[in-house]
């Protein structure tokens, strides 16, 4: 019951954020631009870095199952699905000819228009690989310490491939995730000191047991020895005496 409420609240917050972000003056709003084999780029979609992060976080929070359309999960990474704009005739033709060429390059870049127009990160994939992947791509956006976009990584998607798409669709599909910078480990002095403390304690315990007297420690060996000696004497007193006289 509580989970449902939480879902509703998260949805409402997202809705508000989406509304406010629809304004273009958002520095977290990036436009996806593509280029096939030439130097000219065309805008084909947009992603909002902040929203993607929030989606990812809320997805992790809610552990949404894999059938969910909005966010897909693979391993420990949550992907948001972003559809591109429809491909027009010219782009369609370019893509078609590029798919037949081994060295054709399909490039994507992320640009923002606010505060000034600038392209932050770009990467590429061979156009043929895009065709083989069924026109689905995984985009990973890497961010730095101040949530600035560092780089874009394009990989062939392994997601949502229920049936292979062989012909060029009217739009491309991207599964987008954001990966922030990790905090590096510091020298772990605390655990080490704790370990030393435990070892010391164990040593002290050990030394306590060492304080026992010799007899109390080894009585289990001494007593049988004496018993055997005693018994041996009783069983064969003559032989012992004879041995002594020889």
């Amino acid at each position: 019951m509580e989970l449902k409420y939480l879902k509703v609240v998260v949805f409402l917050i997202q809705l508000i954020l989406v509304k406010s972000d629809s304004l273009l003056n958002d520095s977290d709003l990036y436009y996806i631009e593509q280029s096939i084999d030439d130097s000219e780029f065309r805008e084909i979609g947009q992603v909002n870095l902040r929203l993607l992060k929030q989606n990812q976080n809320s997805a992790q929070l809610q552990s949404i199952n894999e059938e969910d359309l909005l966010v897909e999960k693979s391993g420990n990474i949550f992907w948001s699905r972003v559809e591109s704009q429809s491909l027009d005739g010219e782009v369609f033709q370019k893509l078609k000819s590029a798919l037949g060429n081994d060295n054709s390059i399909y490039r994507l870049r992320l640009c923002r228009k606010y505060p000034v127009y600038e392209c932050k990160a770009s990467s590429f994939i061979y156009a043929k690989a895009l065709g083989n992947a069924g026109f689905l791509l995984n985009l990973t956006l890497h961010t730095s310490i101040n949530n600035e976009l560092n780089s874009l990584s394009i990989k062939i998607s392994q997601l949502g491939l229920k049936e292979k798409i062989t012909s060029i669709p009217d739009h491309l599909t991207f599964f987008v995730s954001v990966q922030g910078i990790k905090q590096a480990q510091q020298p772990d002095t605390e655990t080490h000191l704790e370990k030393i403390r435990l070892e010391k304690e164990q040593k002290e315990k050990g030394s306590q047991s060492e304080n026992q007297s010799f007899f109390s420690k080894y009585w289990m060996y001494i007593v049988p020895f004496f018993v055997i000696m005693f018994l041996a004497n009783i069983v064969n007193p003559e032989a012992a005496a004879a041995g002594g006289s020889e």
Partner: protein, 961 residues
């Protein structure tokens, strides 16, 4: 007593763990340097020459042989920068660290006798003025423009100078101390008493205001300040105790065409002016007669290389040098009183290098009214020489070796035998199976002959002489050197930032085999933040391609208008000669270049051409005749990508390689926003990987993430709360994607990083805990391998990342990873730590998989439990007491023995040694008992034969029974 003896005997093996004196220097050597002298003093009576250098070193050299008697090396960088030196009567006074510290050193042994902290301002590039006081005994005045101090061994008296006073000159007369400078655009003179207890007067210098600006050119002598007005050609002369200036005019026509002469020296009535025209230096000696206002030109000295003024018994002498004909250098002495040349004090010397003199220091001594002259010269190729009056050279030191920027270790060829091998497989079309068979037999006979003559002969000789083989270090002919049995001896090709190139033999204590000087070399600046510059050196063809010669290339900028030209120079690394068919001065490219790299393909002559990327993103191939060869090779392959670092925008860019006239296509971009790139680590080009995985304790395999395109990029910056941090990005250079990234908060450089196989290791400074730390990162694919035959950057592999950081006791100046022939031995880290020690840190200590709590499986794998500190033990030290300072780089190379890696460090000093990261598993120890083993073997063999015979006879006897 017997017990005590036994105790001592048991104690002895512990001592044997150390290094014996006779073991030092068996294969390691060190050479010490000083750098470019900025202050020099020759003292013939002590047989010493004292030098303070731009490499933060103060040294005393033996005048006769140039050996270092003592040397003090101050801290690296600005902290140890020598700002000023006073050659006092008893001590050397050195002001360092932008005037923050002053120290006095004894002339004899270089002992520090006293030290003070002076000015706390620490202004970068501050000019320190000093005066050796005549009024106060053994005392010195030092000023940094804001404060003024009188120092001696007993006390330090400091006063503050008036605010906004910009000091120009400091002079001392009998009346006290005078400071001349500017305040509020007016020239001022401040007069203090000698003890600095009283400000006597502060006045304006009217005449100076009218005529001169801040770039005023002044010279001073006792009681007198002279300044040159370049606009109107007159000298303003001032007796320092008066405020009035006297105008002395010069005939402008007498100075030739140079409109900006400089006043370089002045005395009561003599003035020396210097002009420069087309790199030619001329000196003009003017004199003032009977207080007349016009100066008279007494002498014009043309094409002067360098000069110095020496004073004996209040007589001034000008000593200057001049090339008379090719390779003939003359030193003349002029008595400045009579302005006459002293024919009795003249040096004529033959020099080989024929280079310009950057600095000349002279020392004149008078004995029985006879003058004798000793001079020291520092040439443009950074060689330092001292000469005596007879023109005999005392010594020559190659100080450019303190400025090494690029190093490669080159193998020697097998020479004649190699040619035989090549011939064996048929070089001409007429060769058929029979001739090739004949050649094969012939080669093998030659090899047998070689073996008997050379190898056995040498071994027999050694056995007879009962001494290990040792080469005589004095006479090595270049063409006699061939590869030794285990390829342990090589040529170290060192390129210096001044343009001098050396070939150093790794044996014979680092004997210089050859050297040449590339004039007008300017290094490329690779990192403006760390002030790092480089002259790239590439090995294009090794000695393995007989009959082709080995070839190396040096790429540098050329001095000239805007320094925009680029030079590619080809040479043979074994002889130091210019390569055949290449121009003597190298190929000159008119464009300036932003990236240089070696082609991944070789042309038909086994030569890998140099590819240059110019500012307009076009690729040039040098030598040009290789263009067609490699174009066809590049043409059939998919796109090759490389990175370009954009300094201004803090971004990395990747381009698609195309060998055509077109500009390159940008295919990826990485953006670091406000962070600055401080270091980039890539694999060594000859890094060998032996195993693709690690066998764990449970016999399973953990596969390494061996991405050949991965580099480590380290950036520094500040977060929104102005807290400094450093970031490490592991970047795939084909796709421009980040494989992984780490952030270290409250940390800063100096940062050193190395990358090999699937791991990175780096050092940094933790500001929060005020300690030096190191971290290691290792990447694995996991228990299965994505593709066992080849690696593609386009594959979606998410590596497992292991990372650990450790505390170390000190910071590192430089870092490198060991290299071995097949990469089977473990890869240790060689670090140059502060205080001159070179350490070898075993990999096992920095393994990021060191567990905090050990399990049975990990114990089986021989992992060490995690400890937060790496203890830098004395056993790790490679250079025992041979400390080397200010190490800027370390180069490693593989030898023919898998266990042995060669290490060469360079900085102010150079040091070479061999390391054995996995101990000497493929070598027999020196004290191996051959006699014992052979007797044992023979004994065993005889025993076996004998027992066999006895057994058979006893069996026979048994059968008869």
């Amino acid at each position: 007593m017997a017990k005590l003896r036994l105790f001592l005997l048991l104690g002895l093996p512990l001592l044997a763990l150390g290094l014996f004196e006779d073991q030092t220097g068996t294969y390691d050597w060190r050479q010490q340097y000083i750098g470019r002298p900025i202050y020099t003093k020759i003292v013939p009576s002590l047989n010493r020459i004292f030098v303070a250098s731009d490499q933060n070193a103060l040294a005393s050299l033996n005048l006769k042989n140039g050996n270092i008697v003592w040397r003090k090396v101050f801290e690296m960088g600005d902290l140890g920068k020598i700002n000023s030196v006073i050659w006092g009567l008893k001590e050397i006074i050195v002001v360092t660290s932008n005037g923050q510290r002053v120290q006095a050193f004894d002339y004899n042994q270089g002992f520090a006798s006293w030290e003070y902290t002076l000015f706390k301002n620490n202004l970068p590039n501050v000019k320190i003025n000093t005066v050796d006081s005549k009024n106060v005994k053994d005392s010195f005045y030092v000023t940094d423009g804001t404060g003024l101090c009188l120092i001696n061994s007993r006390e330090k008296i400091c006063i503050e100078l008036p605010q906004n006073f910009r000091i120009k000159k400091m002079l001392e007369s009998e009346d006290g101390l005078f400071l001349v400078g500017f305040k509020d655009n007016l020239s001022r003179k401040i007069h203090y008493n000698s003890q600095l207890t009283k400000l006597i007067s502060e006045s304006n210098l009217e005449n100076l205001n009218e005529n001169l600006n801040e770039n005023l050119d002044c010279a001073d002598s006792s009681n007198q300040l002279s300044c040159l007005s370049t606009d109107q050609f007159f000298i303003l002369n001032n007796q320092i105790s008066s405020d009035q200036f006297e105008k002395l005019s010069i005939q402008p026509s007498s100075l030739g065409q140079d409109s900006t002469p400089r006043l370089v020296w002045s005395s009561q009535d003599t003035f020396i002016l210097e002009t420069k025209l087309n790199e030619e230096k001329n000196l003009f000696i003017f004199k003032q007669y009977q207080n007349e206002a016009d100066l008279v030109l007494m002498k014009k000295l043309e094409s002067v290389q360098a000069f110095d003024i020496e004073t004996i018994d209040q007589k001034n002498y000008l000593i200057f040098s001049k090339y008379i004909g090719k390779n003939k250098l003359n030193f003349f002495t002029i008595d400045l009183k009579s302005v006459q040349e002293r024919q009795d004090v003249m040096i004529t010397v033959n020099v080989q290098n024929n280079e310009d003199i950057i600095e000349l220091r002279a020392s004149l001594t008078e004995k029985n009214s006879k003058l004798s002259l000793v001079v020291s010269c520092f040439f443009a190729d950074y060689s330092f020489t001292a000469l005596n009056q007879k023109g005999a050279k005392y010594f020559t030191r190659e100080e450019s070796l303190a400025y090494i920027v690029s190093v490669e270790m080159i193998d020697f060829p097998l020479i004649h035998l190699q040619e035989e091998f090549e011939d064996e497989f048929g070089t001409t079309r007429q060769d058929n199976i029979f001739t090739m068979f004949y050649k094969r037999i012939r080669t093998q006979l030659v090899m047998l002959k070689e073996f008997i003559q050379v190898d056995l002969g040498l071994k027999l000789k050694n056995l007879l002489q009962n001494s290990p083989s040792s080469e005589s270090s004095s006479d090595i002919a270049l063409d006699e050197i061939t590869r030794d049995e285990f390829n342990l001896n090589k040529v170290i090709v060192c390129v210096t930032s001044v343009g001098k190139v050396f070939g150093i033999y790794t044996s014979s204590n680092g004997k210089i085999l050859w050297s040449f000087f590339l004039r007008n070399t300017i290094p490329f600046s690779v990192n403006k933040l760390t002030n790092e510059s480089v002259v790239p050196l590439f090995v294009q063809r090794t000695a393995a391609h007989v009959p082709y010669e080995p070839q190396c290339a040096i790429v540098s900028k050329v001095k000239g208008r805007e320094n925009s030209k680029t030079r590619v120079f080809f040479f043979n690394p074994l002889t130091g000669q210019v390569s055949k068919d290449s121009p003597k001065q190298g190929y000159i490219l008119d464009q300036s270049v932003k990236q240089v790299f070696l082609s991944s393909f070789a042309d038909s002559h086994f030569l890998r051409p140099i590819l240059l990327l110019d500012e307009t993103n076009r690729v040039h191939v040098v030598p040009e005749n290789s263009f067609e060869d490699i174009k066809t090779k590049y043409g059939n392959k998919p796109t090759i990508i490389f990175t370009g670092q954009n300094q201004n925008k803090n971004s990395l860019t990747g381009y698609s390689m195309k060998l055509s006239e077109e500009n390159l296509l940008e295919i990826w971009r990485l953006n670091f926003e406000d962070e600055k790139i401080i270091s980039i680590a890539s694999k060594l080009p000859n890094d060998r990987i032996h195993s693709h995985g690690k066998v764990l304790g449970d016999r399973s395999v953990l596969y390494k993430y061996l991405n050949p395109n991965m580099i480590g990029v380290v950036t520094s910056g500040e977060d929104s709360q102005q807290v400094p941090f450093i970031n490490l990005y592991l970047v795939d250079t084909v796709t421009g994607s980040i494989v992984n990234s780490f952030n270290h908060k409250r940390c800063r450089g100096p940062l050193r990083i190395v990358h090999s196989e699937n791991w990175f290791f780096y050092s940094y400074y933790n500001m929060k805990f005020r300690r030096h730390e190191v971290a290691s990162v290792e990447l694995f694919e996991g228990a299965t391998q994505f593709n066992s035959t080849h690696f593609s950057s386009f594959d979606d592999i998410k590596p497992l990342v292991f990372s650990k950081s450790f505390i170390v006791q000190r910071g590192f100046d430089s870092m490198q990873v060991t290299l071995t022939e097949k990469g089977i031995s473990t890869k240790d880290i060689i670090v140059a730590s502060q205080y001159g020690v070179i350490l070898e840190i075993p990999w096992i200590l920095i393994d990021p998989r060191r567990p905090i709590k050990m399990t049975e499986v990990e114990r089986e794998e021989n992992l060490l439990p995690y400890m937060p500190e790496i203890p830098l033990n004395y056993e790790f030290t490679l250079n025992y007491y041979n400390y080397v300072y200010n190490v800027r780089g370390i180069t490693t190379a593989a030898s023919g023995l898998e266990s042995t890696s060669l290490v060469f460090t360079y900085g102010l000093d150079i040091f070479f040694t061999r390391v054995f990261p996995s101990k000497t598993f493929d070598m027999i120890r020196e004290d191996f008992d051959y006699f014992f083993i052979s007797t044992l073997m023979i004994g065993l063999a005889l025993g076996t034969l004998l027992s066999k015979k006895l057994a058979s006879s006893s069996n026979l006897k048994k059968a008869w029974k």
